[in-house]
Amino acid sequence: MTTAAALPSTARMGLSRGKVEILQFFRDRTAVTFSFLFPAMLLLLFGTIFGDEYDHPGLSAAQVFSASMIAYGIVSTAFITMGVGITTDREDGTLKRLRGTPVTATAYFLGKLILVAVLTVAEVVVLLAAGVVFFDLPLPADAGRWFTFGWLLVLSVVACGLLGIAASALVRSARTAGAVLNVPVVALQFVSGVFIHPITQLPDWMITVASVFPVKWMAQGFRSVFLPDTAAGLEAGGSWEHGRIALVLLAWCVIGSVLCLSTFRWTNTRDA
């Protein structure tokens, strides 16, 4: 038989998937506009509308939004892109085609993760640039804050990406995926204090609900990176709570993995 040649490794196939994922994403202008530039537009609107109406010394509302909106940007690129992308792949035959090849599911997800990582980095750069240029967001000078930024970014992307994969199992059609997935996302942004700061303005029960989900912790974490430490007193817990942020996000990574493994379907047909 002719099976002597080795099957390509998952890493190599994952890179190949990542390449076509990125090519396809950036050629689809609608996708680029909505999941990529939408958060930047929101930041410009919010930052301009609220301007300097803020009574905390050395802190403008625009700066707070610049930091918090990074959390929204990550949810938008990681969770929404992943959820809509997989639903689309299931509908247009991408997954069915891949399932007939020697590709592994891990390589497929690796490709998606590469796309999401590239998008997230680009999204964060756009948001930070907008924050710096329009709202004088000070970039941290010490390595410690950038270290926090690094682990926060990785945990956020992985948690949101995995949850996006899991959510794709709940969405029936690609046409409605964007709308369906955006409902919980936008609701979470509000209760998590991304659009409303300080978060302590919200009713206690809302903060409690938000504390279960990752967005509140992501936003809090990014504020800790970009805002002066005096602003920590405005958080629900009265401090930045880095340890708790890491724990909650790690927990969501685990929950996301379990949900992925138990809910992922290659096709729409239930018996396949």
Binding site: T2, T3, A5, A6, L7, P8, R12, M13, S16, R17, K19, V20, L23, Q24, R27, D28, D89, D92, G93, T94, K96, R97, L98, R99, G100, T101, P102, V103, T104, A107, T267, T269, D271, A272
Partner: protein
Amino acid sequence: MTAIEVRGLRKTYGSRSAVSGIDLSVPHGEVFALLGPNGAGKTTTVEILEGHRRRDSGDVRVLGQDPAVGGRAWRARIGIVLQSATDAADLTVVETVRHIASLYPRPRAAAEVIELVGLGDQAKAKVQALSGGQRRRLDVALGIVGRPEIVFLDEPTTGFDPHARRQFWQLVRALAAEGTTILLTTHYLDEAEALADRLAVIAAGVLVAEGTPATLGGRAGAGATVSWTGPAGQESELTADPVALITKLTAAGVDLPGLTVTRPSLEDTYLALIGEQR
């Protein structure tokens, strides 16, 4: 050695039985056509063979392997041509072919496959810009780029114009000439007749006949109608042995203008076969 071996295959969806006990055996290198009306169970059968669908019962072997547990090495040896995919719309033809090729251990060169399916001029075109027929030929390219030993073609020419269909047939013949086993489903009789070494007719989930295009359903022994224009006008005679009849007629010194010998067409045979099931 057989490429496909099926014994007692069954599949039900809820209370509806889609496949109710099918036996099939396809040797290596054969072009085998599965013929039948819509809803007869063709696609279900093929999807089970491809590993895309689970069966309820029966024994299935494709290249010696049970498709339900076919691993990566097995999938590297089969080629599946999808019938309604709209994926990769934003990629170019060559990007798509190269990408799928990268998933196989010893793929064909992308340029070679693109030439083979006749998309050489469209290699740099976006997939979404292709016509329906071109899109299906790309699907074939993606199905064969991994150098499969067996190719599944599920109703590959549905919606093709006659010219595109002829081109597609040439492509299938070229693959068969390389020794690739081909399982084709179709509801076009001329397609089965033009391509298949052997064929089977499936109706309401069971095989009702199996044979070569010439012998299917007792077609070869079904007698022939000999017609000619005689002195008294159009004459015709149904006979089991047309050669003997014509020899007898010509021996009598009769001229036979307008001589035709017709056997039941594959379509007549097919319609009779599926009619029995209704």
